[in-house]
Symmetry: C2
Subunit: 316 residues, 2 copies
């Protein structure tokens, strides 16, 4: 593994063709915005490129890839964007583990699996760094690329809300808006639009909130039964985890989602007092200081008991 800077990353990409871009499983706006933004830029340079991920892409992100002409090709170079560890590739990990040539990321927990790593752990979103790479490639950024990169910025920062957001993030957003990013519509779709099924699920999630450790821990549980009753699905649960941290006094918010096979996963949201990535690491997960995730091979109740025990230790 060799750590590289933006210029070196651009130089490498200029020299390559037939580029496959990998985005992480259960994709969010940052990995998708980086993947499709970079792909659009490489296509504009006359290269062959394609961006893929293991799971279905939620419909609200369709504008990121709409109108793209994807050529047929056999991949010669493999790039991962916003992917901290290879297992986050989901089903694609089986095919591509050990074969990734370049990774562009912002997770401090990046496991350094790629041959070249461009890591900016100070960036609030990986899209901040992909934006720099595209500028270094001297591609003329059109409104589609601007939409992709803006989407990465806004989704990973909770719309410029979280403490991870720096003046650089705001400046990048300003530049992208000037380049044509449709910030009003993007934020409306990402943050201000609840489907009826999601609204029903959210209501159940809020009604079922549990508080522990003198209200310093909030637990939201999303069960398969709640998906059935609301008509919602796991794809729509992205906005639930932040709710777990919103009630005054809560220092750790846990959102435990039951999977179809009865096992579960947990999203962790914390404030400064607790390092979420360290907490998640105890269960084989990872992420950022204030937002992390981990998986369990057991059911919701068992996972909750294990999590609460460790949370209480962290709060001491």
């Amino acid at each position: 593994m060799t750590k590289i800077n933006v210029e070196k990353c651009a130089k490498i990409l200029r020299d390559k063709d037939n580029i496959l871009i990998l985005m992480h499983a259960h994709p969010d706006g940052d990995t998708l915005g980086c993947g499709f933004g970079l792909c659009r830029a490489l296509l504009k340079m006359g290269k062959k490129a394609r961006a893929i991920c293991a799971d279905e892409i939620p419909a609200k992100y369709a504008y990121l890839y709409e109108g793209m002409d994807i050529p047929e090709f056999d991949e010669d170079y493999i790039v991962a964007v916003d992917v901290a560890t290879e297992n986050l590739l989901g089903d694609l990990a089986d095919v591509y583990s050990g074969k990734i040539d370049l990774c562009i990321d912002h997770h401090p927990s990046n496991s350094e699996y790629a041959t070249y790593l461009l890591l900016n752990a100070d960036a609030a979103a990986a899209a901040e760094t992909v934006f720099k790479v595209i500028k270094a490639l001297r591609v003329k950024i059109d409104r589609h690329i601007a939409d992709c990169l803006y989407t990465g910025l806004t989704t990973d920062t909770g719309c410029f809300r979280y403490a991870s957001t720096t003046s650089n993030t705001y400046r990048a957003a300003a530049e992208l808006i000037d380049l044509g990013a449709n910030n009003g519509i993007i934020n409306r779709v990402m943050f201000e639009t609840k489907t009826k099924t999601y609204a029903a699920l959210e209501r159940m999630a809020i009604e079922g909130m549990e508080f522990y450790s003198r209200d310093r821990i909030c637990v939201i549980t999303i069960t398969q039964d709640m998906y059935r009753k609301s008509g919602s699905s796991e794809q729509e649960t992205e906005a639930i985890a932040p709710l777990s941290r919103q009630q005054e006094g809560v220092e750790i918010g846990l959102t435990i989602r039951e999977k179809a096979d009865g096992k579960c996963k947990c999203s962790l949201r914390t404030y400064e007092s607790v390092d979420a990535s360290k907490l998640a690491a105890l269960f084989g997960g990872g992420g950022h200081k204030q937002a992390a995730a981990c998986k369990f091979d057991c059911g919701v109740e068992e996972a909750k008991a294990m999590l609460l025990e460790k949370c209480e230790e962290f709060l001491k």
Copy 2:
């Protein structure tokens, strides 16, 4: 009334002393951020200044004025910030109507009541313009002033979310963060912290949502009884109105709040298809295209019926 630009406004303020700054009643982050930000800047220039509003300032805004040394003085010059019409001064209107020397505002509906008006209707927040004035005054902006102005920007844009937010808004935010604005904490307090009483009120509000005109209109009603049951108060209702516009398909969101005297007022939130300020104007109110407000001399049910009738006409 004379319309002036930023330079002229700064020139006027440089020549004046003993300045009273008026903020609007039922104060929000923009009027408070502008008022205290400008006041702090004038104090730094060695002038006497004070910022006041008719209603109690919610506790979460205390950092805007904390640590300020307010000298005693009789006012010689009166400035209104983020105040579209004199009646929005609330109880202060009785004292100061017809006496306001200078107004700095961003409402297109500004009624031009002041002797001098600095109006930038393209600004997402009045704080964008006050920031320019303070720079033109050549005051060294410290972190307290930066916090005030950033608070104005973020609260009036729903944390840089609404379509009114431009690249200039983002650029101003970046500058203010570099000047010391504590964006992480401010956004956490403004958008990510629900008191238990507010959380209870919000739950009732969501449970009581009503939909009309094939779900194109959403009505939230907040009654005095709901304040009693939740322990919440009108001061905490700022975040409720945006909820009325969040469900997919809703074009007009109405939030009707019952006052202690049984009369009521309504916050309107719309999308492009409907001009909220025109709708509110039918009932003597005003505001922006996508966010406005009006008052009623009747109870909630009567106001709702009148509003729904006009909303349906607007949707035709």
